[in-house]
């Protein structure tokens, strides 16, 4: 479908954007004195309240899962070929691959380790890993699954397995974004990969990994020189700050100095700020992609706020973690 064929879809999304949570609502949610008050505010906004649940966390997770599903149901109604949005779902597939590989070597029986919303059924993934028949998996995932499983079998190094899969996931996200032909999704993938590489480099410094390991772990990135980032990570945090201050991500430096959660927040806010221009695009796939990202962003913010309420965290500490809203 070319961009010019999204007139109907974008008009519907424009109406739906009215229901997105804005900053004022998040402030109101942050000010809620109890989980019940917060849930009532969300219910007034049209958020689904689950009828049955075991614990408060279960109730929240069911509500968030239902909201996520609502978004994808709407998009499935509007777009014939959903593969254009693979870039937003691939992460779940690779998360499930990681879970399947680790599950195959442990006695874990829980199915909750799998995340819903990927492009591949977790059962297919589990079956492929258990039987070592990777043919049902997408072509680009087959060698990754095999390599990750062999690595875990031979080295029992979970971290190394994670690195193999995470790097492949980032590469797949970048390729899916290019295939989508949507500037918004390409931008999303670019920022996602850059943020992931920065996180990998920072974590590597903190865990004392060597340069070879870091180079192996970093995914190819259009906006960062991974060679230089790996070099900097090999030297320490200050070198990472020095390198980043010369890139498009210089604003990340003060956030990295604050805390990992401040950096995570900065990454998500950066994506939201960059896609905000889609609010005024009348007929491309961009507003649809931006709507999905905005919904994911508000769902993760609501999770942060509600978790804060459950765990009695101070409002200020939760506020620091809450993301910027799209509208």
């Amino acid at each position: 479908m070319t961009d010019n064929q999204y007139y109907y879809a974008v008009a519907r999304i424009r109406s739906r954007e009215l229901g997105l949570l804005n900053q004022a609502f998040i402030d109101q949610l942050l000010g809620a004195k109890s989980i019940e008050e917060a849930m009532r505010l969300l219910q007034d906004k049209g958020w689904h309240m689950p009828d049955s649940y075991t614990t408060e966390s279960d109730r929240i997770e069911k509500m968030l899962a239902s909201e996520k599903q609502k978004t994808w149901d709407l998009i499935a109604e509007l777009v014939d070929d959903m593969s254009v949005f693979d870039v937003l779902l691939i992460e779940n597939d690779y998360h499930n691959l990681k879970a399947a590989v680790k599950k195959s070597l442990t006695s874990v029986k829980h199915s909750e380790i799998f995340s819903s919303g990927g492009t591949i059924d977790p059962k297919v993934m589990e079956e492929a890993v258990t039987t070592r028949d990777f043919s049902p998996l997408p072509d680009e995932m087959e060698p990754v699954a095999e390599k990750a499983l062999d690595t875990l079998l031979h080295t029992h190094d979970g971290q190394l397995t994670d690195i193999i899969i995470d790097k492949a996931a980032l590469k797949a996200i970048g390729e899916a974004a290019k295939r989508s032909g949507s500037p918004v999704l390409e931008l999303y993938a670019r920022l996602k990969i850059a943020a992931a590489d920065i996180k990998i480099a920072v974590r590597a410094v903190k865990t004392g990994k060597d340069k070879k390991f870091i180079k192996e772990a970093l995914a190819p990135c259009d906006t960062l020189n991974t060679e230089k980032l790996a070099e900097a990570a090999g030297e320490g945090m200050d070198s990472i700050y020095d390198y980043l201050s010369l890139t498009d991500y210089s604003d990340a430096v003060p956030e990295l100095k604050k805390s990992p959660s401040a950096f995570e927040r900065w990454c998500d806010n950066l994506i939201i700020r960059n896609i905000r221009s889609e609010i005024s695009h009348p007929y491309t796939i961009g507003p649809l992609a931006a709507y999905i990202i905005a919904r994911e962003n508000e769902i993760s913010t609501v999770r942060i706020v509600l978790s804060g309420l459950i765990n009695d965290l101070p409002e200020e500490s939760v506020r620091e973690r809450a993301r910027e809203m799209y509208v």
Partner: protein, 156 residues
């Protein structure tokens, strides 16, 4: 040959402006349907915005009528001996409406689609939302005016 050229001009005005309007109204109609799916109370507003790119087709039809009338095709007293020069004059007189009609209808539909998005977000701004696509109409009206003046200026 002259009458064929004049007829080509009249047909072009109706054809190209009509094509532009059909594409434009269809395009804006999709957006209008999207808005009404979410908010049926916006039907009348969406309909007005959808119809705006339809005017070029009417202008094209008007020019075709005037041209056909002047060359006698409507009254039954067609001038088959019309010179090539006169035929060309009719053809060129119709071209402003044909081409400006086609392009303006398509561009106006984009403005209409954007305005439908505006109404979806701010229904109270409907008045302003109509102005944006209506601005494109100016150029269709200018072309209509030139085509009418040119056709009426051709010596019979």
């Amino acid at each position: 040959m002259g009458i064929a050229l004049a007829l080509l001009g009249a047909a072009s005005a109706a054809l190209f402006a009509g094509i532009g309007s059909a594409i434009g109204v269809g395009r804006a109609g999709q957006a209008a349907a999207g808005l009404v799916t979410e908010d049926p109370s916006q039907f009348s507003r969406a309909l007005i915005l959808q119809l705006l790119p339809g005017t070029q087709g009417i202008y094209g039809l008007l020019i075709a009528f005037i041209a056909l009338s002047n060359i006698g095709l409507l009254g039954g007293n067609v001038d088959t001996s019309m010179s090539v020069g006169t035929g060309l004059m009719y053809l060129f007189a119709c071209l402003p409406m044909a081409f400006v009609g086609l392009v303006s209808a398509m561009q106006q539909s984009k403005a209409s689609v954007a305005s439908i998005g505006l109404v979806a977000k701010r229904p109270d701004q409907f008045g302003k939302s109509m102005i944006f696509p209506a601005m494109v109409e100016t150029y269709a009206i200018l072309a209509l005016l030139i085509s009418i003046l040119a056709i009426n200026g051709i010596p019979r």
